[in-house]
């Protein structure tokens, strides 16, 4: 018999309840139980960052968090960035700056970017590179990702020049 646990948590500002087994990672719970497939599995060992989510506002690899651990806690995934007003300024910035190619690492990078800009609204290029070093991207060479984060920062700080 499986020993399933009922977990109550908040995911993208919505209350959720789900049953999971202790060995199921948060990533599996999000994707396979809650149907939130925006969060991706790249390596399942914490080395690629594709599964990045926010746990109580803190950046974590959801493959290295157990689903049972999130009892009473709040998760933000890529699906929780946009709201009824439209895309989040970070998403908008990645569109404007072509900050992705295949788009597979993008959800994790958007989440990591949110975590960065929440704590450091004006990061330097070095800050951005260091912070995103746990999020592998094989397509872009990071150049346009770094620039997209810079555009996102200026969107969020209302410091963008017109027609930048």
């Amino acid at each position: 018999m499986t020993n399933k646990t009922l977990v109550s948590a908040t995911v993208n500002n919505e209350p959720v309840e789900f049953l999971c087994e202790p060995q199921q990672s948060l990533l599996e719970c999000l994707r396979d139980i809650l149907g939130l497939t925006g969060t991706k599995e790249g390596c399942n060992d914490g080395n690629c960052g594709a599964c990045s989510v926010l746990l109580d506002g803190q950046l974590v690899n959801s493959c290295l968090v157990l689903g049972v651990e999130i009892e009473g806690r709040a998760i933000t995934t890529v699906e929780g960035l946009a709201d009824w007003r439209g895309l989040h300024p970070i998403q908008q910035a990645f569109l404007e700056a072509d900050g992705f190619q295949c788009g597979f690492c993008t959800p994790g990078i958007l989440i990591a970017t949110k975590a960065l800009l929440d704590r450091k609204p004006n990061p330097t290029e070095a800050d951005i590179r260091a912070w995103l070093s746990g999020n592998l991207c094989r397509c872009t060479g990071y150049d346009k990702i770094v620039r997209a984060v810079q555009v996102a920062a200026c969107h969020l700080n209302n410091t963008c020049e017109v027609d930048a």
């Binding site: 991706k40 699906e79 072509d98 094989r138 060479g141």
Partner: protein, 749 residues
């Protein structure tokens, strides 16, 4: 002239946002591992722990008996092979008599949950007779090497070998008289290079869902496969070939693709999933764990090069000679042929010889990786080019310019260069901000490398359908790896003379589109773009005819420009007005263009790297990096820059960090993203791009392929920069800190 008048195109050349962009930044895009079907169960593949072993027996009964298991399949479930190639493909799906690499698939299980499937797979008892393994290409060529295929004889145009060998084939290009060429040389340089096997390293693993519409009757079942692939039709071809099914009964639906770079040209999970789904009588999903991606999918060849070049004091290359030894992995098919083409590709070699060897080794069978075979060959050749320039006291770009091929010059493989922009690229590199900026500071150096890459055309299909409101649906069978929906739609918009927001592009499946080759070889924007333009021209022709009929005027009198059909002074329809008329009566307008583009423009790329070498640790830091490339005509410059930056970064990884490490048993030691080190955001600087546009005349807008050339020069450019910084010439890829310390004489090798 103002800027507006100078601009030859309305849409092409604009930095437009991507049609699929919003789905990619919101998590809505459906990639391979995201597909789920009702009633789906899960497959798991049992793989060999041995690099080389005979399978003595296998017993699946305990797996089959486990509750929750729906099906177990092995090689016995595959139809017999009908040719050598077929047998290789069949055996690479499931090993029959021998396993040839760690990770070689032996059996597969479908079960209610992934955990049960994995547990059941571990219950399959396989008895192996372990054999000696060989992973190094030169070791595999020795007389006493373990033989992978008892029936393999070296194929060569000089005749077949007479004894079993791991050398699958040998070819030779010869031009002029190399001995005479070297005799004429004032300076001769000669080196041997060793390069490791590398992986494409896409972040999305392989994933497939297979389902049979009639619940699995084997004779007439209709199979649908959802998979992440570079070519839906190539998957169909592969499945049809191995399962002996009618083409019409196999439908392949490509998902969004999370990185591919050639690695998803090959089908791995589709046949196992189809077999399991047929036996399990329900949809089966298989997702490959990351370690298996390294162990069991096709990386690019590790290789060895022996290269010799000679030049005169006035800077003319007189002769060049190279031997290329490429590890193919378990079955023949390394990219040694394209490696040979890249080797001295940009230059006029009056006397040259290249010998290429395709050698099987106990590793996964290699697949394509962005400019297959080119990067390590270019590293070898461009190191010697740099050395010649240095010995001759010439600027390295100037030396390359003096020897550069022009249109009509003969290549070493016997072909001739077409309309190429290599000289323009070198000239742009000479004058760019990076090359003209001084580089100062200790332990720093600047290097350059330059390449030619052939690109590709091939088969493509594009359908356009005009809607009643004047919008147009565009459907192609070319899988969109990094934005080609957008670049194809932009070309259609250009040809239709409509704003791009009126075009809605999508990627179809094998049931509803015409045949296309894989999205590979830098061909998609180029060749599928030609299909889109042809379809657009046909749509306009049909629309003109319909306007002529409605107006009752000769079709020749109907002109079309900037979205307006007109005849005479007063007859006028906008595209949307006419679209409303034609869809309301007489049947709607649409067109499908199927092309097989036989000619294409080669791409040239020069890279400039500034590095700093820590002489105590051997660590290389990239200070500045510039990519200069002829793209013919940039359809979407932002996306072109992205290709140049991304390709360069893969090449940087190849240069400095990446490589399969094997132990003496042939087991890979770094089958994960911790120890198979692809560059992180910290390892590369901002990558400057210089887009050179020498239009390719065979494309209506001058487009050339873009994606592959930028992966080629980084190792050469970085190696040459390291030489300037530290005085050593690296001859191994990756150029690890340990390798540099050994070259520096700081540690023993």
């Amino acid at each position: 002239m103002n800027a507006q008048e100078q601009k030859p195109f309305a849409v092409v050349g604009e930095r437009l946002p991507r049609y699929d962009g919003a789905d990619k930044v919101t998590g809505k895009a459906i990639f391979g591992p995201d597909v789920a079907l009702p009633g789906m169960c899960y497959g798991f593949i049992l793989r060999s722990p041995h690099a080389h072993a005979r399978i003595l027996s296998s017993d699946t009964s305990r797996a089959e008996a486990l509750p929750g298991v729906y099906a177990v399949v092995t090689a016995a479930d595959l139809p017999p092979a009908e040719s050598a190639d077929h047998r290789y493909a069949r055996d690479n799906t499931f090993a029959s008599d021998k396993v040839l690499y760690v990770g070689h698939a032996v059996a597969a299980v479908a079960a209610r949950t992934p955990a049960i499937a994995e547990q059941a797979a571990r219950l399959i008892a396989v008895e192996y007779d372990v054999l000696p393994a060989v992973t190094d290409v030169l070791a595999a060529m020795r007389d006493d090497a373990p033989i992978l295929h008892d029936d393999m004889r070296t194929h060569s145009l000089a005749g077949h070998g007479d004894k079993p060998s791991n050398v699958a084939s040998h070819f030779q290009h010869l031009k002029g008289d190399p001995a005479r060429g070297f005799a004429e040389a004032d300076v001769i340089v000669e080196r041997e290079f060793h390069t490791a096997t590398v992986h494409q390293g896409y972040i999305e693993s392989h994933a497939t869902v297979a389902t049979w519409s009639d619940d699995g009757a084997p004779s007439n079942g209709a199979l649908t496969i959802y998979t992440t692939t570079q070519g839906s039709f190539s998957v169909r071809d592969h499945v049809v070939w191995l399962l002996d099914l009618p083409m019409s009964n196999v439908r392949v639906v490509p998902t969004e693709v999370g990185g591919a770079f050639g690695g998803k040209n090959t089908s791995y999970l589709d046949v196992p999933a189809a077999l399991l789904a047929r036996k399990a009588r329900r949809p089966v999903k298989i997702t490959m764990p990351r370690p298996d991606v390294f162990l069991a999918t096709g990386p690019s060849s590790g290789a060895v090069f022996r290269v010799k070049m000679g030049a005169t004091r006035d800077g003319r290359i007189t002769a060049a000679q190279a031997e290329l030894y490429y590890a193919a992995g378990a079955y023949p098919g390394s990219p040694v042929g394209s490696g040979a083409n890249v080797m001295f590709g940009p230059y006029v070699i009056p006397n040259g010889q290249i010998d290429g060897y395709d050698v099987v080794t106990n590793g996964p069978r290699v697949s394509s990786y962005r400019a297959p075979g080119g990067t390590p060959a270019n590293f070898a050749a461009e190191t010697l080019i740099d050395e010649l320039a240095e010995k001759l006291g010439l600027d390295p770009l100037e030396f390359r310019l003096r020897n550069h091929a022009r249109e009509g010059d003969e290549r070493l493989d016997g072909g001739t260069h077409g309309h190429i922009g290599g000289i323009e690229v070198l000239q742009a590199a000479q004058t760019c901000a990076h090359y003209t900026a001084p580089l100062t500071g200790p332990n720093r150096g600047r290097g350059v490398a330059h390449t030619a890459w052939g690109n590709w055309g091939g088969r493509s299909s594009c359908a356009l359908n005009v809607n009643g409101d004047g919008t147009v649906n565009l459907v192609t069978s070319s899988v969109d790896l990094s934005g080609t929906r957008t670049t194809i739609a932009m070309q259609a918009a250009e040809a239709l003379q409509l704003p791009p927001e009126r075009i809605k592009p999508s990627v179809g499946d094998t049931d509803n589109t015409g045949y296309a080759d894989v999205s590979a070889g830098s061909r998609t924007t180029y060749a599928t773009g030609i299909a889109a333009i042809q379809a657009a021209e046909d749509v306009i022709a049909q629309m003109r005819a319909r306007a002529a009929a409605l107006w009752d005027v000769p079709v020749e009198s109907v002109a079309y420009a900037r979205g307006v059909f007109a005849s005479g002074a007063d007859l006028r329809f906008t595209f949307a007005e006419l679209a409303e008329q034609v869809t309301g009566s007489g049947g709607s307008v649409g067109s499908i263009a199927n092309v097989d583009v036989a000619e294409w423009g080669a791409g040239f790329s020069t890279h400039i790297a500034d590095v700093e070498v820590d002489p105590e640790t051997g660590k290389v830091t990239l200070l500045r990096y510039t990519v200069v490339q002829d793209v013919g005509q940039a359809v979407n410059p932002a996306m072109v820059e992205g290709q140049m930056q991304g390709g360069a970064t893969q090449g940087i990884g190849w240069a400095l960090y990446e490589g399969y490490a094997y132990n003496e048993k042939g087991q890979m030691l770094n089958a994960n993203f911790l120890d198979y080190k692809i560059p992180t955001a910290l390892d590369v600087p901002l990558i400057e791009t210089v887009i050179v546009e020498v239009p390719y005349p065979q494309h209506p807008y001058g487009v050339r392929g873009v994606g592959e050339p930028p992966i080629v020069p980084p190792p050469g450019a970085i190696a040459n920069a390291i030489y300037r910084a530290a005085g050593i010439r690296p001859d191994h890829l990756p150029m690890t800190p340990a390798h540099l310390l050994e070259k520096l004489g700081v540690i023993e090798s």
